[in-house]
């Protein structure tokens, strides 16, 4: 795309979301939609993330809070089951961690460079609170 000349694109500062006609979009999963190459869904727009969320499946209760609150639609959930995080679009804002209700949390923020396995290995224990 970046090799196109001035005469090779549509006029006006406008971009199409989909290749061809968009039909039944609301009931089509993202992975099945014909996103155009100019749609940000097909590009990584997360390169300025500093802290990343890591998902710990064992503690998740599939409440969908993170999915509802994520401002970038970067929580991947299918059939109301939390699957993971779309790291190409997550900006690392941490809202998912903030709203996660489990104990310990099922989502925690880590430095971008820490391996997920290392993060999961050091996951905190359940906080029993004051006795």
């Amino acid at each position: 795309m970046a090799t196109k000349g001035w005469d090779e694109f549509e006029i006006g500062a406008m971009l199409r979301s989909f290749d061809g006609k968009a039909e039944n979009i609301a009931t089509t999963m993202q992975e099945d939609r014909a996103y155009s190459s100019s749609n940000s869904f097909t590009a990584s727009v997360a390169d300025w993330r500093i802290d990343k969320p890591v998902f710990h499946k064992d503690y998740c209760i599939d409440c969908q809070f993170c999915w509802i609150f994520c401002p970038d639609m970067s929580i991947i959930s299918r059939d109301k089951k939390m699957i993971g995080i779309d790291m190409d679009h997550c900006k690392g804002c941490g809202i998912c961690v903030e709203v996660c209700p489990t104990n310990p949390k099922s989502l925690l923020m880590f430095d971008e460079h820490i391996e997920d396995e290392v993060a999961l290995a050091g996951w905190p224990e359940k906080d029993e609170g004051e006795k």
């Binding site: 970046a2 196109k4 000349g5 001035w6 005469d7 694109f9 549509e10 006029i11 006006g12 500062a13 406008m14 971009l15 199409r16 979301s17 989909f18 006609k21 968009a22 039909e23």
Partner: protein
């Protein structure tokens, strides 16, 4: 919702503002978003009354500024409607940021600009400062010399701008008060003739086409911006001229009234020529005829299409002329004047070695009298006889105090 048609006489007595408002009514605009400013107010006021009286099927949007007016027009045009508004002077200046948006987004918005001076000092009268301010904005600019032109050029503007090969916004300029508030006989089209000339609006990449979602107003950086601007300039330079000519031809067929990209008056054998715009063209024509009676072969070149600038047509129109004067009705701000520069650019590489001199006149509505033009043509004849410019290259006409000239 049905709307009423209006019975017009063949010739109505209208000023330029009402003529423009009537043309907008006959073109049936979907959205007019406007903020009033003298001297253009009666255009949008007139349109609002037509809408209130059920002569228009559309939406009139009252906004809080001219910046908001053009912004609303951009939204409505991107959504897929036929859109127009009007402004002048300070309002135009406030609109400038959004003018570049509308042309870059290739939205065929029609803007009636009733030319007025720019403050300071504040002034409501006509000069071409606002017109000049818009000349790099990527819009098509048409210039009306009288109320009849203001009426006709609105139809022509929609025809050009909305063409899918063009898709660029278009301004129709008329001189504040001299045209906008001077009532003259205006030959009319019937409502059906007028509407059928522009035809139903044909949307393109509109946001209301929900089966083909688009994002308008996107951002590009060094990787894409140049290509977009190049495309826009290419279309201005290559696609607009033939479409303007086609629209002029079609309009002549409909109405019998002929418009030209460059309006030549007595130019076939002219030795001396004045190049100007707006109401001054009509004054200059009258004086040129009188100069011919005195044995001076005088002609007038009126610019009808200001942008894209008709470089080649100007070159052709001035071929063989010995002395040329450009009349700029805008404070030149430390330069020779727009028309002087454009003429110099058009002629420098041609065989026409005319003596070219520039004049600044009429700022803030100061009259350009026939006496001024008689003196000017006399100076031009002296230049033509001498084969060179005998005066300074830039002179001021009609300003009090010691004679002002530069270069």
């Amino acid at each position: 919702m049905a709307f009423d048609k209006m019975e017009l006489r063949d010739i109505e007595v209208w000023d330029g503002n009402f003529a423009a408002a009537q043309a907008l009514r006959q073109c049936q605009i979907d959205v007019v978003a406007a903020y009033p400013i003298t001297p253009s107010t009666p255009i949008v006021e007139g349109y609002a009354k037509f809408e209130a009286d059920n002569f228009v099927e559309g939406q009139y949007v009252m906004v809080e500024s001219e910046h908001a007016a053009m912004s609303a027009c951009i939204g409505a045009s991107a959504a897929g409607g036929r859109v127009a508004t009007a402004t002048s002077s300070q309002g135009f200046a406030l609109m400038v940021e959004t003018l570049y948006q509308s042309s870059g987004m290739r939205l065929p918005i029609i803007l009636n600009v009733v030319n007025r001076a720019l403050a300071a000092p504040l002034n409501v009268n006509g000069d071409h400062s606002d017109m000049y301010l818009g000349r790099d904005s990527g819009w098509i600019q048409l210039d009306a010399y009288c109320p009849q032109d203001a009426y006709d050029l609105n139809f022509i503007a929609f025809k050009i701008a909305e063409d899918h090969d063009v898709r660029l916004p278009c301004m129709i300029h008329q001189d504040g008060f001299m045209t906008s508030h001077t009532a003259q006989g205006v030959k009319t089209l019937t409502d059906d003739e007028g509407y059928n000339f522009v035809g139903d609006f044909q949307p393109m990449n509109d946001m209301l086409d929900l089966d083909h979602p688009v994002s308008h107003g996107v951002q590009t950086e060094e990787d894409w911006h140049f290509e977009h601007k190049a495309r826009q300039h290419n279309d201005l330079m290559t696609k607009v001229f033939p479409k303007v000519q086609n629209a002029f031809d079609a309009f002549e067929k409909l109405s019998g009234r002929k418009y030209n990209i460059v309006e030549k008056y007595d130019m076939d054998d002219a030795d001396v020529a004045v190049v100007c715009m707006g109401t001054s063209v009509e004054t200059a024509r009258e004086v040129a005829t009188e100069m011919r009676a005195k044995g001076i072969k005088a002609g007038v070149v009126g610019i009808r299409l200001i942008r894209p600038f008709p470089f080649m047509q100007i070159k052709e129109a001035l071929e063989g002329v010995k002395a040329i004067a450009t009349l700029d009705r805008s404070a030149p701000g430390g330069a020779p004047g727009m028309l002087f520069n454009e003429m110099a650019g058009a002629l420098f590489n041609s065989d026409t070695r005319a003596a070219l001199s520039g004049y600044v006149y009429g700022l803030g509505g100061r009259d350009l009298t026939k006496k001024h033009l008689v003196d000017l043509y006399t100076e031009l004849q002296a230049n033509a006889d001498a084969g060179k410019v005998l005066t300074p290259l830039q002179q001021f006409i009609g300003v009090r105090g010691p004679k002002l000239s530069y270069l």
